[in-house]
Structure formats: structure tokens, C-alpha cells
């Protein structure tokens, strides 16, 4: 690193850590919903990416509505749009659970096929409704700029916004899982389904809520991504691989595992990307993950469910 001055090195460190944290929050947002559904219910939801896209399209719709009917609301519509994205995806999740998933419990391979089919149907729906072109909502101005703490450092505000959103959502999920009645029932159902049923927990209903919540979180993730990139009918299939990577690497049932995994992958990727070329950085990350998974086949945090 001899070619850089001390102040440049300081800027690199600052901006690279920011890039790493920004990627971390993106990965965590993507994986959170999937981890809940897979970890709590054993359902491999290959349509998770499409629920993200649904959230993103909801934001796009809100943006169109705001611009057409209420230009005065443009600066604040985005906050409402995030809630709308959550509701849209959660409701879609509710419907999917009722119409498809509930017939497939305890058959993980079948859920895999069914949700893959679902993802294709949803992609085609997006294409029919929104067209094949990618769309991007017009963002309020306050989201677009950057902080400039020193001459050579720029911290993008949309990155900070995604981080804050991730923090709030993760906190919310944690509170919900570990401090609420429904969360308690969810965890009980996972640990011992028949015992939970015996003590009066409606496990059917818990499953439905879990699935719906996971999908809603995916919707929020999609909403957050619209500040970073564009959304197309097949955006979902681009997200899904990274998302599964995080969940599998973290160990499937653990919130802490998901966080640790997203953090590890993000930091590794941003470091590798800086010192290697783009694609090679990604290859290096994947190789590292493969090696670690060979040593710890169940992921960073193994699932301690009684069988």
C-alpha cells in the first residue's frame, strides 16, 4: 500500500468500512425474512426474491401515485411506501400460505418445487402488470445526497438510510421473537410442534403468521433496495442466491447466525473486492465460504432443535 499517503489510507479505511457495513445491511435485510421462514417452518421459499420485488414494485406504485396525485407528499411518501411494501408482501404471503404452503409442511423438497413455480408465476405477473423494462421510483431529494465529513470521504445517505432501516427491522424482529407472545409461540412450535399443540397453541395459525411475517420483511427489503438499484420482473432471481448463501452459512434457525453470517460475508466481500478485481472478489468469498462449511457443515451457528 506504499503508493498511498496516510490521509488517503485513512479515507480508504473509512469508506471501505462503510461499503462493508452497507453491504452487510443489504444482505441482512435480504436474509432476515428467509431465515425466519426456513428456520421456523422448514419451508425452502424460492419465491423469497419475488416477495422482495413485490415490495419494490409497491414503492414504485406509491411513487407514481404521489407524483400524479399529491406532489406535495413526494418528500415523505417513501416512509409510507415502506409500510405499504410490508403490508403488500405480508398479505401476499398470507394468501400463498393458505393456498399453497399449508399443504406441503414437512415436505421441504416439495416446498422447494412449489415455491420455484410460484416465483415463475409472480415474475410473469410483474411482467404483465409493469412491463418487461426495469423500473425505478423517483426518490425524495433528501435520500440522494451524501455526507462529506472530509474532502476525500463521501458517505451516501441512501446507504445510511438502508442501515438504519436494517437496524430498526432487526431490532423489531428480535423484540417480536423474544419478547412477544406470538414470538414465544413461534419458538415453541419450532422446538416441539406436538407439545405446543397439546398446550393449546394453534400451530396452524402460528405457521401462517410466520410465513406472512417473513414475506412482509422481504417486502421491506425490496423497498430498501429501490434506493440502491432498479427493479425488474426477474430481480428476485438475482437476489435469491446471495440470500440463501447468508442463511445457509449462518446456520438455518438462528437469528444471531444470520446476522453473523451477513456480517462476515459482507466484510469479506468488500475487502476482497478492494484488493482483487470485482468478479474475482466474489469468487474468493465463495471459496472461503465453501471451506468454512466443510469444517462446520451446519453453518456458523448450528441449529439446536430436538428431533
Amino acid at each position: 500500500m506504499g503508493q498511498y499517503t496516510a490521509s488517503e489510507l485513512w479515507s480508504i479505511t473509512a469508506m471501505q468500512s462503510f461499503a462493508g457495513f452497507s453491504l452487510f445491511s443489504v444482505l441482512l435485510l435480504m436474509a432476515l425474512g428467509l431465515a425466519i421462514i426456513f428456520g421456523q417452518m422448514g419451508v425452502v421459499n424460492l419465491a423469497h426474491g419475488e416477495f422482495m420485488a413485490l415490495g419494490a414494485y409497491t414503492v414504485y406504485l406509491c411513487s407514481q401515485l404521489a407524483h400524479t396525485y399529491a406532489p406535495a407528499l413526494v418528500p415523505i411518501y417513501f416512509l409510507v411506501a415502506i409500510v405499504a411494501a410490508f403490508l403488500a408482501s405480508a398479505l401476499a404471503g398470507l394468501f400463498v400460505e393458505w393456498s399453497l404452503i399449508r399443504f406441503l409442511y414437512k415436505r421441504p423438497l416439495d416446498t422447494l418445487l412449489a415455491t420455484w413455480g410460484l416465483s415463475l408465476i409472480m415474475q410473469q405477473l410483474f411482467r404483465t402488470i409493469f412491463g418487461a423494462r426495469e423500473v425505478t421510483p423517483t426518490l425524495p431529494d433528501w435520500l440522494m445526497g451524501s455526507f462529506k465529513p472530509s474532502e476525500s470521504i463521501d458517505i451516501p445517505i441512501n446507504g445510511v438510510f438502508v442501515m438504519a432501516l436494517t437496524l430498526a427491522l432487526t431490532g423489531g424482529v428480535w423484540l417480536f421473537m423474544y419478547r412477544s407472545r406470538l414470538g414465544l409461540r413461534m419458538r415453541a412450535t419450532v422446538q416441539n410442534r406436538s407439545m405446543s399443540g397439546a398446550v393449546g397453541i394453534n400451530t396452524r395459525w402460528v405457521d401462517r403468521m410466520t410465513f406472512s411475517l417473513g414475506c412482509g420483511i422481504a417486502g421491506v427489503a425490496g423497498a430498501a433496495f429501490t434506493t440502491i438499484g432498479s427493479t425488474g420482473p426477474d430481480s428476485g432471481s438475482r437476489y435469491i442466491v446471495d440470500t440463501f448463501l447468508v442463511v445457509v452459512f449462518g446456520g438455518t434457525a438462528s437469528l444471531a447466525g444470520t446476522i453473523a453470517s451477513a456480517f462476515g460475508i459482507a466484510q469479506a466481500q468488500s475487502i476482497f473486492e478492494f484488493f482483487l478485481e470485482g468478479t474475482m472478489g466474489k469468487v474468493a468469498v465463495l471459496l472461503t465460504i465453501v471451506i468454512i462449511l466443510m469444517i462446520r457443515p451446519k453453518g456458523l451457528f448450528a441449529n439446536k432443535v430436538r428431533s
Binding site: T136, M144, S230
Partner: protein
């Protein structure tokens, strides 16, 4: 619209004379194929080509067709899937006996159909700018090959900006990689400049934080961008958020047309440059008529990018070749094609080279807020050279 405005009557060209190879040509119609992705990931890009080809065909039909025959189109959907492209190509050529095909967009789809066209002796009009390194008797390339698009653009930016150091960024597949290779050779061997960074990211990549940090450290005179598709939106949004804008940085791209600009948003592109042979805002009478007709057919909000215009040229070049040959037979049409001139193209005068590519100009456009460009520079006619010596 074409110079050959004298009305050619079918009666003067009996079918038995103009079609000796059993093509789907009757006394009143000629059947052609249109093979693009109407679905799948490439539909985003190929929709423009489909529309432009259809517009040209409608216009040709309205003025009496080709040799007095109305053009009938059989549309086929390659569905962004290369084996499907090959299968549909075969169907069009063998079952439907189409006289020619307008189609393909990605190099992958073209490479998939190429053996079929060569074996069945079909004729394909291919509209996309691409990496070159190809020339087939059975293909007419109406977009630019790599040297036409890259060399003149680099020359301009090096001269105009006194640029010495370049950072090359692309998506990770054959077209950006080959283009970057040609750009690097030109920068190092001809311009005496230096490539200070060269990186490729997977298609659909959305996180450019590390890349942007590297750019900031290396401070290149020029960022040369060959990122395609949706990644562009993330890339330009993040550049802007990181304070890299048209005001303080020179960025030139060969992969952003008006179509992409629609998604990226003019505010994220302002001041950056694109090197293309065609821009919607070109100021000439041909183009004014083309843009007007396109918008009348596809709506006021539609935009026209480089490849869309190149798609529009296909049917016109085909008409010119058939009328020159006085026949629909593929061999005769191909033989009549070299040196064909088109004075009515929206991009201006073009001429078909014996190597099946067009002589065309290169333009530099600077992006404006509204997602259109201001054309700053126009080269002379550039000879197509799909196998450039010293650049491979």
C-alpha cells in the same frame, strides 16, 4: 422513404423468376421472420428492436412492399434462451421458408443461430453493436462492431480532455471483456495513456461501493464504463451519491442508450458521455420523420436508443438489396448487398461494406437532465473492421 421511390410492380417480377429456391414468396406477399426475445430477461432490450423493425415493415408495405409484394411477418419468441433461438431459427427457415429474418440481440443468441443460418442458407439482419470477430455470408450486421464504437470515442476523449489515465469497468461477459481489451490496446499503444484499473462485475451486480472507493483513490482522468442492464441503475446512482458527477469527472460509456437512461434517470447521468452511432436527438430530417413515426405508433413516452435505430435499418437494407438483385433468392440478395447505400437512415448516410457491416459515423452525446443527449461530436464515416489487427 427509400431513394428507390419508383413503384415496382409485382407483375413485372413473376414469382418464378424472383424466387428459384422455394422461399415463401407469392405473387402478392413475401414472408419474413422476426426472431427476438419478447419474454425473459432480454425483453427489456429487444422490445425496441421488435418495434423498430415492425415500423419499417409497415412503412415499406404502405409504399407498395418489396418488388410489389407485401411483407408478411412471422414473429417468433426466442425467450432469452439461446437453444430456443436456434430451434426457432430452424423452424423459420425450414418450415416457414422465410425469405429473411430480422432478429437476435445478444451475441450469445447470434452465436446460437449462426450454424442454423449457415446450414440452411438463411439471411439474418442483426441490429446490435457487438464485439466483432465475426463475419458470415448469412448475416448482415446493422449495428457497429467494436472498433467503430470504441476507437473514435477514445480518440475524442483523449484529445478533448487531455486524458492520460483510464479506469475500465464492465459487466463480466464476452462483449464488455472484448471491448475493454480493444480499448486497453488503443489507450496503451496509440494514445500513449495508461489503464490504472480494469474490473468486471457479474450481471445484475448492485453494490459498487468498493469500486467507487478505488476510483476515488486512483483518480483516473476518464472512467470508461461498459456495464449493461439493471446494474447501470445502481452504478450511476451510487456514483452520484459518492460525489462523482459529470461536473467533476469524465465518464464515457458505450453501454448506455436512451433506453437505459430511462431507467437510470437523467439526474444520475447529467454531464457524462455516451459513444454511439445514433441518438434520438440527432438533428436531421430523416431522424425527425423517424422519431415522429415511432412515437405516433408506440406512444409519446417511448424512447429510441442506438440498437432500436439499427433494427429499423434491417428491413430497409433488405428491400434495397432485393430490388437491386431483382430476386428474393438468398445468394442473389447477399451478392447484391455490398456497397448498398442508404441515404434515408435516421443516423444519416450509411453504406454496406463487403464484410457485411455498415460504414457509419460515431457520435459523442452528453447526457442531459431529461434523459436525452446533446450531440457534441460526430466522426467521419468509419470503415467497419471486425477483425482488427493488433487489437486481438
Amino acid at each position: 422513404m427509400l431513394a428507390a421511390s419508383l413503384s415496382l410492380q409485382a407483375a413485372d417480377y413473376p414469382t418464378s423468376k424472383v424466387n428459384t429456391t422455394g422461399l415463401a414468396v407469392t405473387d402478392t406477399t413475401v414472408t419474413v421472420g422476426q426472431l427476438h426475445s419478447a419474454t425473459g430477461t432480454m425483453a427489456i432490450s429487444e422490445t425496441g428492436s421488435i418495434q423498430a423493425e415492425q415500423l419499417a415493415i409497415d412503412q415499406i408495405n404502405a409504399m407498395g412492399g418489396i418488388l410489389g409484394r407485401q411483407i408478411k411477418v412471422i414473429p417468433e419468441d426466442g425467450a432469452s434462451d439461446w437453444p430456443t433461438f436456434a430451434e426457432k431459427a430452424k423452424k423459420l427457415l425450414v418450415n416457414d421458408k422465410v425469405a429473411t429474418v430480422f432478429g437476435c440481440w445478444t451475441s450469445a443468441s447470434r452465436k446460437a443461430v449462426l450454424p442454423v443460418f449457415e446450414k440452411e442458407n438463411g439471411l439474418l439482419y442483426y441490429p446490435t453493436f457487438y464485439e466483432g470477430l465475426e463475419q458470415s455470408k448469412n448475416v448482415i450486421y446493422t449495428g457497429q462492431e467494436a472498433t467503430q464504437q470504441i476507437l473514435a470515442g477514445l480518440d475524442w476523449i483523449a484529445k478533448e480532455k487531455g486524458a492520460k489515465t483510464f479506469y475500465l469497468i464492465g459487466s463480466d461477459y464476452i462483449w464488455p471483456r472484448t471491448s475493454a481489451k480493444i480499448a486497453r490496446k488503443h489507450i496503451e499503444n496509440v494514445l500513449g495513456g495508461k489503464v490504472v484499473g480494469e474490473e468486471f462485475y457479474a450481471l445484475g451486480h448492485t453494490q459498487f461501493g468498493s469500486l467507487i472507493n478505488k476510483i476515488k483513490l486512483k483518480k483516473p482522468d476518464v472512467i470508461y464504463a461498459i456495464i449493461v442492464g439493471g446494474s447501470n441503475v445502481s452504478f450511476y446512482k451510487q456514483l452520484k451519491a459518492a460525489g462523482i458527477t459529470g461536473e467533476n469527472t469524465t465518464l464515457i460509456t458505450i453501454s448506455v442508450t436512451e433506453d437505459e437512461a430511462l431507467g437510470i434517470g437523467g439526474e444520475n447521468l447529467v454531464g457524462f458521455y455516451s459513444a454511439m452511432k445514433y441518438f434520438q436527438s440527432l438533428d436531421n430530417a430523416n431522424n425527425a420523420a423517424f422519431v415522429k413515426a415511432f412515437k405516433a405508433k408506440y406512444g409519446d413516452k417511448s424512447v429510441i436508443g442506438d440498437v432500436t435505430q439499427a433494427g429499423y435499418l434491417g428491413p430497409w437494407l433488405y428491400k434495397a438489396a432485393v430490388e437491386k438483385a431483382g430476386s428474393f433468392d438468398v445468394d442473389k440478395v447477399v451478392a447484391a448487398s455490398p456497397e448498398l447505400e442508404l441515404t434515408t437512415a435516421p443516423e444519416g448516410y450509411v453504406k454496406l461494406h463487403p464484410n457485411h457491416h455498415l460504414w457509419s459515423k460515431l457520435r459523442i452525446g452528453q447526457w442531459k437532465m431529461d434523459g436525452q443527449v446533446k450531440v457534441l461530436y460526430e466522426s467521419g464515416l468509419i470503415e467497419p473492421n471486425p477483425f482488427p489487427k493488433g487489437y486481438q
